[in-house]
Symmetry: C2
Subunit: 232 residues, 2 copies
DNA sequence: ACTAATCTGGTGCGGCGCTCCAAATGTGTC
DNA sequence: GACACATTTGGAGCGCCGCACCAGATTAGT
């Protein structure tokens, strides 16, 4: 009706915090961390920056919230397989792979997952992961006095390994498919190193192309689990 | 002399790439990642942005260079202790603690160390760490076919654990000394969790105050090393 | 129907990384 | 010493950014 009111129309639907976070995740998935800006978000939601800051506060808080959403969903989606037959080792692998897969789907997660552990040692992400993993260490035969050490070791290994899959940052569709290419380039670069200075790199250069990230990750977990049985 | 020439005076000494990197490290140490800006750097060096971009390129490249300088120095400063008596385990611990201490001194390092591993799998940082650690795994009794897996597991654990000590970002002098305070707050928050939902967190809350990061780190390494002996 | 509380879109500010370029400085040649 | 040429420098300016702020629209309470 009105030809030109200062606020022509409003949201037909109320703008919820969840909507903002979900849209943020979409932007992050599509274009990496750099693609999440106040302006890209306001445009996508066709709103102003005021609404966003009213709901979520700063950009950092939005990133934290996105991380929390994704991690919580990932952990919830993969409970212990069959509740009766699952061993503690199974449960730990389940949690670890849930995080691994979450990062495969949302590459920007890697960096922020670690930041959460450091910046918010309370908070659902840190507590959730620690609790889920920690519960199993007793069943592994680790003495109570070493529970904290054991859980820390597991969590640290898992996060370190999983961070490996961080995003190079940029558009997904164009940067994604060169995994094989990337491995080849790495192998070639390692091959070019001076064999005298880098005998080890030369010894393993053949293994880089035939290795599978997920399998290597599971091998690493098996190593840590083995080591934990000797704690006490 | 001249009342106002467009370029009143120049550097009395040529501006070297090393100077820029060192100044950047100083700024990072003093104020965290946010304190390193083109402008703060040009001010400190009393130059213009042109000189800096001419020498080091982008800000990211400067951060990479700073990371490389610090890590290389840390690794070089701590060679195997006594060359004859050092076991492979000793050497691995030496490298791990060198990284641990480097991050204690330069908290901003944590984030960028992991990024280097991901973004520049060649490059002195990644190769240096891998080579140094990888050489030992053979001596540990790990079969050649598993060398890559073993080295990866070690590096991933070390980086994951060491990232824990990332900076909250801000001024060093004011933010630093509240370590005990921080642990107390964490313990209190864990204590407040619902004991039914978080039995594990409650079980270990007593251990958080008496634990020592460095010792826990060494325990973790011992766990991984133990686990590696079963590889094959 | 009126008021108070809640919520939203948009403008503008200070600061960022970085490009670009004229001028100052080195380097070679005769 | 004079000149041409390559190298190096300081700084102005551009297009972004996160975010504070606020007028006004909407909703809820009575």
């Amino acid at each position: 009706m009105a030809a030109r009111t200062p606020h022509p129309q409003r949201r037909n639907q109320v703008l919820s915090r969840e909507q903002i976070i979900e849209t943020a995740i979409e932007l992050l998935d599509a274009g990496g961390e750099g693609a999440l800006t106040t302006r890209s978000l306001t445009e996508r939601l066709s709103t102003g920056s005021g609404a966003i800051y009213y709901r979520v506060g700063s950009r950092d808080e939005l990133l934290d919230a996105a991380t929390e959403t994704v991690v919580t969903a990932a952990l919830a989606a993969k409970p212990a397989r069959a509740t009766t037959t699952a061993t503690p080792e199974d449960e730990i692998r389940t949690v670890a792979l849930a995080l691994f897969d979450a990062i495969a789907e949302h590459r920007w997660l890697a960096t922020h997952l670690i930041l959460q552990l450091v910046r918010k040692p309370f908070g659902p992400v840190t507590v959730g992961i620690f609790e889920r993993i920690g519960r199993q260490v007793g069943a592994l035969g680790v003495p109570r006095a070493s529970w904290f050490d054991a859980a820390s070791t597991l969590v640290h290994y898992i996060l370190g390994a999983v961070s490996q899959h961080a995003r190079i940052d940029g558009d997904t569709s164009t940067v994604e498919p060169d995994r094989a290419e990337f491995l080849d380039a790495t192998a070639a670069a390692w091959q070019d190193l001076d064999p005298e200075d880098h005998p080890f790199m030369h010894a393993i250069v053949g293994q880089i192309n035939e290795h599978d990230d997920r399998e290597q990750f599971l091998t690493g977990i098996a190593v840590v689990l083995d080591g934990l049985t000797r704690l006490g």
